[in-house]
């Protein structure tokens, strides 16, 4: 603290960071939590309308997480351990879903298995009721198993190959090594991966909203209470319940892995070769991955085919008419907005997170622990809650002079802070403090040393923060659903609206355009960063 007093600029910078965190992370959330007031909570809890959605949320989270993790584990095990062919192909297929809004799986599902779906109606001539629990379960399994795969692959690839070599050397077979060495050693990481997947599933808003029907979960109930009934008090109470669940999962996750694992976009360290697995196992892995990849290709391929055909699936004439629709008017604006908002938010988020990470990791001032907690907390906040928070706190008449696009950008910046922040802290841990001290002893102030010495060395952390925030900003629906205005609408909102309008051509073309735009942006960025990025899960 004394050293801070001697460097007033540093003190001011710290105060600015604290002020921003309090304004844009703490304040909106507190607004939501306290909105109903004590009597509001009592009335709401007595009303009992929350019991069904809570039960549904818990039920579907348990089911979807279980299946997503199982599939993800198979995929990850195959990628990390087996000697199957086509690994680069499977890697790309496993990454693509991360670049798309998760809820487009629901759209594809409707096209495939809906009342007029190509499988259900086209092949079997049936129009089953596919809304509700089983629909959500299936869709979330497909939408989130790639996330689980990335997280689990990260954990498995970090397990110490030398231990496995040693166990094999002592006479254990591959199966035995896996159960007695690999699994016990990666248990905390796997636990954290499962809980992280559970948080993604729990806060999923788009899929249940599209195919849930009368099966309401907490995020969709919060949404419909506001958009359908204008009942803000109840919505705040519902989302507070959701927040508590997510926080519970998140706290458990942090206890397991110290809050390090995220689905992020970063370089992955290579490891020493692992002991060979039997040929039969590799073959089984290959078949399993082929099946899962086929499923993903079917789901996303359906969207692509639909985007390029007149009326899917009845009229399969090739057309680019849907893309013309996407490129014009409000739709074109929405795409442009998505790009602008996401790039700006990603840049600010990465830089701010790096600076905040430096203040916390290298600082000696009191209260660092509290700031650290606040900076990682948004990872536990469901997007719908975050959106409602910003709606409550900042959708005020006296702020009308502010372009509403900034509100979306700011929400994206702070919702995604944890990724860049954790990457910065992890990066800083790799840099010996004597480097900062060397700069200081040569006459550079702490800020100057940060700029000259640490920032150039933390390019990796900046890239992780930027790319991951960008991808999450492009794909989020729940954060922005309460914040957009006609002029500041974004791609995910338009896709969601087009699905609701049953404009399948438009919705799918929009999806393809959105994903394509994200890929192009990432390729350009990768070229600028001289190819030093890779997509996947990592310890930030």
């Amino acid at each position: 603290m004394r050293s801070l007093r001697r460097e007033p600029v540093l003190l001011l910078a710290l105060l600015a960071v604290v002020a921003l965190v309090l304004t844009f992370i703490v304040y909106p959330q507190v607004q939501v939590v306290i909105a109903p007031g004590p009597s509001g909570y009592v009335d709401f809890l007595q009303g009992g309308t929350w019991i069904g959605p809570l039960r549904n949320s818990v039920e579907v989270t348990l089911l979807s997480t279980t299946t997503a993790v199982l599939l993800g584990f198979v995929y990850a095990y195959a990628m990390v351990y087996s000697h199957m062919p086509w690994k680069p192909f499977f890697r790309v297929i496993g990454i693509l879903p991360l670049l798309s809004p998760p809820f487009v799986v629901a759209a594809s599902y409707l096209l495939l298995f809906g009342p007029r779906g190509i499988v259900t109606y086209g092949v079997f001539g049936q129009s089953p009721i596919i809304f509700g629990l089983f629909g959500i379960w299936g869709v979330q399994t497909i939408a989130y198993f790639p996330f689980a795969y990335q997280l689990i692959a990260d954990v498995l690839s970090r397990s110490d190959a030398r231990m496995e070599q040693a166990a094999r050397n002592l006479g254990a077979g591959p199966w035995r090594v896996f159960w007695t060495v690999t699994l016990p050693l990666s248990r905390p990481g796997l636990g954290a991966a499962i809980l992280t997947t559970a948080i993604y599933v729990l806060e999923d808003f788009g899929n249940p909203q599209i195919i849930g029907g009368i099966f309401t979960v907490l995020p969709t109930q919060a949404y419909s209470l506001i958009s359908g009934f204008g009942d803000f008090t109840s919505a705040a109470a519902v989302s507070t319940i959701l927040l508590l669940l997510a926080l519970g999962l998140y706290v458990a996750k942090i206890r397991l892995d110290g809050g390090r694992a995220f689905v992020t976009v970063s370089g992955r360290a290579s490891s020493m070769p692992r002991p060979p697995v039997p040929l039969g196992l590799s073959a089984a892995c290959f078949v399993a991955c082929l099946a899962l990849a086929a499923l993903l290709v079917l789901v996303y391929g359906t969207l692509v085919v639909s985007a390029f055909t007149a009326v899917f699936p009845t009229n399969l004439t090739f057309t680019v008419r849907h893309f013309e629709f996407v490129a014009t008017g409000t739709n074109g604006d929405a795409l442009r907005n998505t790009l602008t908002f996401s790039v700006v938010a990603a840049a600010f988020s990465a830089v701010f997170a790096l600076f905040a990470g430096w203040l916390v990791q290298r600082g000696t001032w009191p209260g660092r622990g509290a700031l650290d907690f606040l900076l990682i907390m948004p990872a536990a906040i469901p997007g719908i809650f975050f959106g409602i928070g910003y709606l409550t706190a900042f959708n005020q008449a006296w702020l009308d002079w502010v372009n509403r696009g900034w509100l979306i950008i700011i929400a994206m910046i702070f919702w995604n802070i944890p990724v860049g922040y954790q990457a910065a802290v992890a990066g800083l841990r790799q840099v010996d403090r004597s480097l900062d001290e060397a700069a200081t002893s040569l006459g550079a102030s702490k800020l100057r040393g940060f700029r000259d010495v640490l920032v150039p060395m933390l390019g990796g952390s900046l890239r992780v923060g930027f790319v991951t925030t960008f991808v999450r900003a492009v794909t989020t629906l729940s954060v922005v659903i309460f914040l957009f205005t006609p002029a500041t609408t974004v791609a995910t909102i338009r896709i969601y609206q087009l699905v609701n309008d049953l404009n399948w051509g438009g919705a799918t073309a929009f999806t393809v355009a959105d994903i394509g735009m994200a890929i192009v942006a990432l390729v350009i960025f990768a070229a600028l960063a001289r190819g030093r990025i890779a997509l996947g899960a990592a310890r930030a």
Binding site: S3, R6, S434, E437, A438, S441, G443, R448, D452, M457
Partner: protein, 360 residues
């Protein structure tokens, strides 16, 4: 050391939680001196150095540089460039940019900067390596860059934190000589931290031996080595024979001590009170003995008869462990190639002025 102090550390205390790392430490370093803080790991020497640098705030006490109190000065305004144990070279800068960094921060003009960087690199023998990256340099070269980077800004005090400990023995000795020569030529004030007593003895004008956060003794290397004030010091700085004895007689400049069945008249230690009847420790360096197979020559000091228990060939010396009664003495014989190794019964003798008395 007389003259006015350039660096003055007075009553500095530094605590970490409940642990007192530096406990009321005071010392003065005159301008242009090579001062060394020597001690085992955890003795507080590095903490003292880092407190001088401004990386730690002292809990009590003052640091003065050039007559000015610097406690409230942030680390980057103290003019205390530091050479780190792991060199801490900026990996994303070339050798030239590393060395130029401090000048750049100080807004030194480009022409002067270029000149000073060139001169300093020549000074440490790195001309021609300007465009290398730190990762392309050997350990010794990295160390020289680190020194050049600190020297070039002409600090008030240059702080060195075990700068040679990551190098192999041969290079360490070579750089030791270079560092000493460099410091002499520049007349710059150096404060050097090490746990290596050989380094401390060969480099320093002045040594402070630290233990458990306190300065146990400070003085010139010769003084520290031959006249340690405590058993810890005697033992820490080099190999030593420490033998309990009792003072039997006191004279103006000598004391007579008895140990076992032996009796000897040795130099009376200055500025330490010893009284007749007191228990003391005799401190004899192994190289102070002469060892012969025959009967002792000099009855004036300590003469002992014993048998060789073990011996170790150290290259420049032969070290013997000689059993005398129930005690083993360490004895070094210089130039061991001159005669065949001794075995069996030997005689030891040491001149009285080579025996130092430590008051317990």
């Amino acid at each position: 050391m007389p003259e006015t102090a350039h660096l003055r550390v007075s009553h500095v205390t530094k605590r970490f939680g409940g642990v007192t790392a530096v406990d009321d430490v005071s010392f003065d370093v005159p301008k242009g001196a090579f001062a060394t803080l020597l001690g085992p790991s955890g003795c507080g020497k590095t903490t003292t150095l880092r407190t001088i640098a401004g990386f730690y705030d002292p809990d009590a006490g003052d640091i003065q540089i050039g007559g000015r109190r610097v406690n409230e000065l942030p680390a980057h305004r103290r003019g205390t460039a530091m050479v780190f144990q792991d060199y801490a070279l900026f990996p994303h800068m070339t050798v030239r940019d590393n060395v130029a960094y401090g000048l750049r921060v100080a807004h030194t003009g480009a022409a002067e900067r270029t000149r000073r960087v060139r001169e300093t690199l020549a000074f440490v023998g790195l001309t021609g390596l300007e465009d290398r990256w730190p990762s392309q340099l050997s350990g010794g070269q990295q160390q020289r860059v680190a020194v050049a980077r600190a020297l070039v800004i002409e600090p008030q005090v240059l702080l060195l934190d075990e700068p040679l400990s990551n190098l192999d023995a041969k290079l360490r000795e070579q750089l030791r000589v270079e560092l000493r020569t460099l410091q002499r030529r520049l007349g710059m004030t150096f404060v050097y931290v090490t746990h290596d007593q050989g380094e401390a003895l060969s480099l320093s004008d002045w040594i402070a031996v630290m233990n458990a956060g306190k300065v146990e003794q400070a003085g010139e290397p010769w003084e520290i080595y031959y006249h340690p004030r405590t058993a810890f010091l005697a033992d820490f700085v080099g190999a030593v024979n420490l033998v309990p004895a009792r003072v039997s007689e006191l004279a103006e400049t000598t004391v007579t001590v008895t140990f076992g069945t032996h009796r000897a008249q040795v130099r009376r230690p200055p500025d330490v009170t010893v009284n007749a009847g007191h228990d003391v420790l005799l401190c004899v360096r192994p190289e102070s003995f002469s060892i012969t197979p025959a009967a002792p020559a000099d009855r004036n000091g300590i003469a002992l008869e014993g048998t060789v228990a073990r011996r170790a060939f150290l290259g420049d010396t032969m070290r013997y462990w000689v059993r005398v009664d129930d005690r083993e003495w360490i004895v070094d014989q210089p130039d061991p190639g001159a005669a065949s190794p001794l075995d069996g019964a030997v005689s030891l003798s040491v001149r009285p002025e080579r025996v130092h008395v430590i008051a317990e």
